[in-house]
């Protein structure tokens, strides 16, 4: 399944018309210890670039904006019990939410993994 990355340090894994979204290992490293994650509920309509989730680390709250538009089908309920999954498994078990892709064209121009890792090297 193709995985895309944004300059805002989100990953998007696309499976047919569904996408799973989370934050990258680089992002969790910058955030530090995550103590709470607020993910959108099923049915939430997300527009690209609008607030989708909030991550609270020990030091601060940070917004996660929707990298693409769509309708949320599931928030990761495991993060309620164990928000530290974002630190320990950011790109697997610590995913944030799944949505139906409204416009596959919005995926164009996003980075692949190699391009993203190179982008991070340059930061």
């Amino acid at each position: 399944m193709p995985r895309y990355f944004t300059e805002e340090h989100e990953w998007i894994e696309v499976d047919g018309d569904t996408a799973t979204i989370g934050i990258t290992d680089y992002a969790q490293e910058q955030l530090g210890d995550v103590v709470f994650v607020e993910v959108p509920g099923e049915g939430t309509e997300l527009a690209k670039g609008k607030e989708a989730a909030v991550v609270e680390s020990v030091k601060a709250a940070s917004d996660v904006y929707a990298p693409i538009s769509g309708t949320v089908t599931e928030g990761n309920s495991a993060l309620e019990e164990d928000p530290a999954l974002v630190n320990t498994s950011p790109e697997e078990d610590g995913w944030f939410f799944k949505l139906t892709v409204a416009d596959a064209g919005e995926l164009e121009g996003l980075m692949n993994e190699a391009a993203y890792r190179a982008f991070c090297e340059g930061l």
Binding site: H9, E56, K59, A61, D63
Partner: protein, 402 residues
């Protein structure tokens, strides 16, 4: 993730609570402290704070927080202002400072440290600080440490109001370190023999034999743990920091852990929990108004403070709040009793020691009693919170005879 003004990574809704006092510095390039390269070499992530580039964390805030509570952590607080005051007549120096501070400096014994503050005419807090009477054979009579973000305003205020025969010296070529935690005394004793004989809020001059340097050490700090603050010449501080962390009990810690530790310890942070709009009585800091000076007064803000003391209190109080769950309430969150808005959170975060969020808030006195059930509003949600005594985590200071 969200795009910030400089497109930096992971900008925050409410950035680390300490950083907004830096607004006035944002047009100036951040300065570098004597340990700048040392921090970077030790893996620090640097942020701008109070006009300086400072380490916010090394391996992680929670790890550094827990290390401080169980072992000993080295914090660089060289951004703070270190000031010396001298007069030809030592009595004149105490009297001059007493015109601006509510402390009993005339009777402060040599090598003793007091928590005090600079007040304005209406009793508002310009800054909070530590002041020490120096030994009789010193060149100066008092040593003062003020907050980094306010030091230039403090210096201007002091210069304006102190008589011309008081010499104030800004020790801007001295670094300031804090070594905090239950193993701090043993670790520092190995470098500066005799330091473990100091009691809480005592200070003295010590010889660091390994570095052939004299250092000034106070048994004080801002973590709630036993610990020390160490003033050392800037050109010796790298070697001294190296010597400290060569001890396996000591690791460096950043501003992030410093903030979570002081919050658990119930210690107010200037610019957030204390401002010119707050006063020592409503802030729960009336102990800084020395009783021996209640009647005679003679310090700026005295009359305003006495009215608040004698009226049996103030309209608002600084309180501690314990939250349920895991979602922290940050600075600025509103406090409700039912539908009534009764206060504002002045600092808040997740307590690594307690495993739940805590906050300090200024609230109407009617709702300030311990056990009062309140609600905090965070992103449209109401979070239950209870007024609890501070400190949230007990202090473990080294009080002599205790």
């Amino acid at each position: 993730m969200a795009k910030g003004p400089e497109n930096r990574v992971l900008p925050s809704r409410a950035d680390l609570s300490m950083t907004d006092t830096e607004d006035e510095f944002e047009n100036l390039p951040a300065e570098q402290l004597p340990l700048d390269s040392w921090h970077r070499d030790h893996g620090a992530r640097m942020v701008e704070f109070a006009g300086y580039e400072m380490p916010i964390q090394y391996e992680g805030i929670v790890a550094e927080h827990e290390w401080t509570r169980t072992r000993a952590s080295l914090f660089d607080v060289s951004h703070m202002g270190q000031l010396m005051f001298a007069a030809a007549d030592p009595g004149a120096c105490a009297a001059a400072l007493e015109a601006l501070l509510p402390a009993d400096l005339a009777h402060l014994k040599p090598r003793r440290v007091r928590y005090s503050m600079l007040l304005n005419e209406t009793g508002g807090v310009l800054d909070d600080l530590m002041v020490t009477r120096l030994p009789d054979d010193s060149d100066a009579q008092f040593y003062m440490v003020v907050n980094g973000a306010t030091k230039w305003d403090d210096i201007a205020h002091l210069r304006e109001h102190l008589p011309d025969d008081i010499t104030m010296t800004h020790l801007d070529d001295w670094a300031l370190l804090a070594l905090q935690g239950p193993e701090a005394a043993a670790a520092l004793e190995a470098l500066a023999p005799g330091v473990s004989d100091l009691g809480f809020m005592q200070a003295g001059s010590f010889e660091w034999a390994g570095g052939k340097a004299s250092i000034w050490i106070s048994r004080t700090g801002y973590s709630g743990e036993d610990g020390f603050e160490i003033s050392i010449a800037a050109d010796r501080v790298v070697a001294f920091a190296d010597a400290l962390v060569a001890d396996e009990r000591v690791k460096p810690a950043g501003l992030g852990a410093r903030d979570s530790l002081r919050l658990e310890a119930g210690l107010p942070l200037y610019g957030h929990d204390l401002t010119e709009e707050t006063d020592p009585v409503s802030a729960g800091l009336a102990f800084a108004l020395s009783k021996s000076r209640h009647e005679a007064g003679g310090y700026m803000g005295h009359a305003a403070c006495m009215v608040r003391l004698e009226d049996g209190g103030t309209a608002q109080r600084r309180v501690g709040l314990a939250l349920e769950g895991r979602l922290p309430a940050r600075e600025g969150a509103q406090v409700f009793a039912g539908d009534a808005l009764v206060g504002t959170v002045t600092s808040g975060g997740f307590s690594p020691t307690l495993g739940h969020p805590i906050a300090m808030a200024t609230i109407e006195t009617e709702y300030a009693g311990n056990g009062t059930a309140l609600e905090l509003e965070v992103r449209g949600k109401r979070l239950p919170a209870t007024v609890v005594p501070m400190p949230f985590v007990p202090h473990r200071y080294h009080r002599k005879g205790a």
